[in-house]
């Protein structure tokens, strides 16, 4: 009896060891299988452009879907100049409220937060809320057209084909809120349900697999006509399957160039038939300012509202690239030349509310800036840094949680750069700090110019020679200030370019510096011209201003709130429903900005 005890113990130990070894064997086999591919072959769904949802395509690629959806659940993070926390850029950089005065961006501009959220953000932004804009002094704006949706929705190719019947101009010219009502319900969701309105397969769905991949072989392709047209104008050859003829290496950059570019809506000069809404005939439905509603700012057809056919002025989404030839680095002067050439049909995005200058708003021109940088020259694609190769388990994959390379310097940079992560991070920080210093210098200089133009407008308006019928004559004043207004337009185009570009100079530090040097030069030249104008008109007390960080902080607009009662919202109520959107950036970021201009090397260089 007594000597049986150890034997039982021994048996249990050996059984446990066998179990352990079997587990190890299983682990070895599993990793061996994973490393040669290991794609699960069961439950394979057939992918097609009829259902572009990432939920459906992701069934075949669960690991990639998981990566893509990381941003849905992860806690948003800030980097020094980017990240994916949607804080208010107007709170961080209050000077933007002056630079964009008279344009809806001056009341709502948040840091962007990942491809998954892109359509959610477009539906939520105050810039796409006509009633809110009406009630806040932007009566001239009618809300966004479908042209804006080109990059925001994975449904774009489907809607263009099935709803707009391949009429590209008609698609772009339709109201955004009318087009979104046509997104079909798939994956078992009910028409008009909460899920149908959501991001998973529904109307709030952002970028999808299908936007960059071909369904039958997952090769890379371009799906957006604006990108294909623009590349053809640059000298690429059209291709039925992948958009333009290009190598896979080039495609790893071009698929990103479908959207990460400067663009504008070119008026075609012709009327076009598009879908309208029957709400236009319902005299009981009025906008906030009492005028007749022409569409319902909601994502489904409701309360008897039905599609109708209307005629509107045609617009087309265009990238201003024709001066930028294939294989050349981009230069900002190419935009000057381009926008000068089209001035007869498109003279401005908006008229500046304070200076009166005809302004061009630049938006996220990553493709342009990157093209002349050292990484582009060495054949490094967008995907190489933003979608680096990573290991998931034993599988080698491309990262599909597309984000700042700062989130994973090891995978993004160290594939080519042997130095330590700390060293690489310090290099990036140095480039970004110096660009940010230059950008702030340019912005403050342009705000100073705008302030002085305002002073000059008032002074000129008080002179009899610039009046008609006892009032200041805007036309006469504009003529006198023409040269200064052009300098304002061009200087701000340059500062805006670097401000809207998502790398704070990193994509091409030299070109960023050159552009910002020009911007400062032009703004200060504008002030010099104003002094000449003051002298010529006998205005004795004119002085130029030189505003800085503290002056800008006084312009802090705070979070967006309703100023009046609109659409069941009370005055004073916060506009955004989600706390993490449109809030303040962290104090550390503001403190960092404070030290950048003037450049406090004792703080900045020690971080």
């Amino acid at each position: 009896m007594n000597n049986k005890g150890p034997l039982y113990f021994g048996i249990i130990v050996v059984i446990a060891l066998i179990g352990g070894v079997l587990w190890l064997n299983n682990d070895v086999s599993q990793k061996q299988a994973e490393s040669v591919g290991g794609i699960a072959s069961k439950n394979f769904v057939e992918m097609s452009d009829d259902n572009p949802t990432f939920d459906e395509w992701g069934k075949n690629f669960p690991d990639y879907l998981d990566m893509y959806l990381t941003v849905e659940k992860e806690k948003p993070f800030e980097t020094d100049f980017g990240g994916n926390l949607a804080y208010s850029k107007l709170i961080r950089y209050p000077q933007l409220t002056v630079l964009w005065a008279g344009y809806p961006f001056s009341i709502d501009a948040n840091e962007e937060r990942g491809h998954f959220w892109i359509q959610v953000d477009q539906m939520d932004t105050a810039r796409n809320n006509k009633d809110f804009l009406n009630a806040h002094g932007f009566a001239g704006f009618g809300g966004q057209p479908t042209a804006c949706m080109n990059c925001h929705s994975g449904w774009t190719p489907w809607l263009l084909k099935n709803v707009a019947k391949d009429d590209w101009v008609a698609f772009n010219s339709t109201k955004y809120w009318t087009m979104i009502k046509n997104v079909p319900a798939v994956n078992g969701y009910k028409e008009g349900s909460v899920e149908h309105s959501g991001p998973h397969g529904g109307k709030r769905m952002g970028v999808t697999c299908a936007d960059c991949h071909t369904p039958n072989n997952m090769s890379l392709r371009l799906t957006r006509p604006a990108a294909i047209n623009a590349l053809v104008a640059r000298g690429y050859e059209r291709d039925v399957e992948q958009g333009v003829k290009a190598t896979r290496e080039e495609m790893r950059t071009l698929v990103c160039s479908q959207c990460h570019v400067e663009y504008y809506f070119k008026p075609t000069g012709e009327k076009v038939k598009v879908i309208g809404e029957s709400i236009a005939n319902d005299t009981s439905k009025k906008w906030w300012n009492g005028t007749q509603k022409t569409y319902d700012e909601f994502d489904t057809w409701r309360d008897g509202n039905k599609p109708t056919e209307i005629e509107v002025a045609g617009i087309e989404l265009v990238f201003p690239w024709s001066e930028w030839k294939k294989g050349e680095p981009f230069r900002i002067e190419m935009f000057d030349e381009y926008y000068e050439k089209v001035r007869k049909v498109f003279d401005k995005d908006w008229a500046h509310k304070i200076s009166g200058a005809p302004m061009i708003k630049i938006q996220h021109p990553e493709s342009e800036l990157y093209s002349g940088g050292v990484h582009a020259a060495n054949g490094v694609s967008c995907a190489d840094c933003h979608m680096p190769y990573i290991r998931k388990g034993a599988k080698k994959m491309t990262q599909h949680n597309i984000t700042s390379p700062l989130a994973d310097i090891n995978s993004a940079c160290k594939t080519c750069h042997n130095q330590s992560e700390d060293y690489l991070k310090a290099q990036i920080k140095d480039i970004q700090n110096s660009t940010a210093h230059n950008l702030r210098t340019a912005e403050y200089a342009i705000v100073s110019l705008i302030t002085d133009i305002k002073t000059m407008r008032d002074s000129l308006g008080a002179l009899e020679s610039y009046q008609s019928e006892g009032k200041a004559d805007v036309k006469k004043i504009n003529e006198e200030l023409q040269e200064v207004l052009e300098l304002h337009r061009k200087a701000q185009m340059r500062a805006d370019f670097i401000g809207a570009e998502n790398s704070t100079g990193f994509h091409n530090p030299r070109e960023s510096s050159r552009m910002l040097l020009q911007a400062v030069d032009m703004a200060r030249m504008g002030q010099t011209k104003l002094v000449e104008i003051a002298n010529a008109n006998g205005i004795a007390d004119f002085k130029t201003s030189n505003l800085g960080f503290e002056d800008m902080q006084k312009l802090n607009p705070g979070e967006i709130r309703y100023k009046v009662d609109v659409n069941n919202h009370k005055a004073g109520e916060r506009y955004y429903e989600h706390d993490n959107v449109n809030g303040s950036p962290s104090n550390a970021l503001i403190e960092g900005d404070k030290n950048l201009k003037p450049y406090n090397y004792q703080v900045v260089d020690k971080q």
């Binding site: 034997l7 064997n25 990793k31 994973e34 290991r391 388990g393 080698k396 995978s411 594939t415």
Partner: protein, 166 residues
Amino acid sequence: MGQKRAFTNLFGIFLLLIFALFAVGFYTFYNAKGISYFSNSSESCNNCHIMNEVYNDYLAGSHSKKVKGESRASCADCHLPHQGMEKWIAKAESGLAHAYAFTFKLDELPTNLSATQKSKEMVQNNCIRCHGDYAAVAVNSTTNPHADSSLSCVSCHSDVGHKRGF
């Protein structure tokens, strides 16, 4: 009597299980290509998928070029000591550490690896072992291991083994 028989049966089961343990143990060892790790061949280092990129780079480099059917240098020629026991101790040490990391810590490993101090020293010694004769002048003047800012051979010849000079 009954008790003794029960004991014998139990002992039989114990022996059977020991045999089974050896059987699955050997099979697992075979499945994990355990024997290959006793060889000097570079292919065995590439058993592990984590080495694919480096291995491909090595194949494109000068050291993998074959002379009389043998590579000029294998992974082990540069990355392990050459003296008898020292080699096997280093091999066992890194082998066990690698096996542990791949089994339990695969998700924590960085995409791009960096060499440890120990590994750098082994590589440096191996450079000198083969090239010392005619590189002695350079080695003696620039690679003094006791000087703080001394260079190693791969400081300059970083692409020699594989393109990624870790």
